[in-house]
Amino acid sequence: MEAGALAHGHATGHHEHEHHGPPQAHRSSRVEPALLGMLLFIISEVMIFGAFFTAYFFIRVVNGDPWPAPGTELPKLIAGVNTAVLISSSFTLHWSETALKADNRRGFQAGIFTTFMLGATFLFVQINEYVHVGFSPQDNAQGTIFYGLTGLHGAHVAVGLTLLAFVCIRGFRGHYSPHEHRGVEVPGIYWHFVDVMWIIVYTTVYII
């Protein structure tokens, strides 16, 4: 299709006038570069989380150590409410993307801003949990794994919030339209991935 368009450009003599700047990058994949980049990034992220989960299962299953460490308690209820907050942010993000595709600009802006605020709330509560949880990463292996897994996830939320901040700013400046929304779609995929990882972290670390 693209080759056909290029050939058409050459045939009609318009090609030289359509493209300015350096030559376009060669593409060997049928997937869009932005989407392919996020795809490869998320696959590498799954491997990073996998390494941390390996450490978690090693001390719980292989070593048979108690979880959490004796004398410590994890705030399941607060973390549960926080989980609901984070999952809600994925729903508002999906609502926002749907509104954008339907050319509902106000709905999109409200949705993306709400998503950002819910994500920020999650991170704030997580930091507050660290302050009050009562043990440190250096206290025992369980503490190291707890802070390692939740901290790794928290870092991803921080990155996601940075992306959402850019989407918010660009969204309020009117940079997106029903046909041009790749800048919302790609961070959206990342945000849903962050939520999926949290559900697994919450289930294994706090509940099971």
Binding site: I189, H192, Y202, I207
Partner: protein
């Protein structure tokens, strides 16, 4: 076939499936702990 890395919509659907699967796993584990 569902590919959560293809679009935001599919990623969202995948998230919903994960929520359902996690709820099922939690229910099974809590049930097993209560019984044995």
């Amino acid at each position: 076939m569902l590919n959560p890395l293809r679009s935001e919509g599919e990623a969202f659907r995948f998230l919903v499936y994960v929520i359902v699967a996690a709820a099922a796993v939690i229910a099974l584990v809590l049930l097993a702990r209560a019984l044995f």
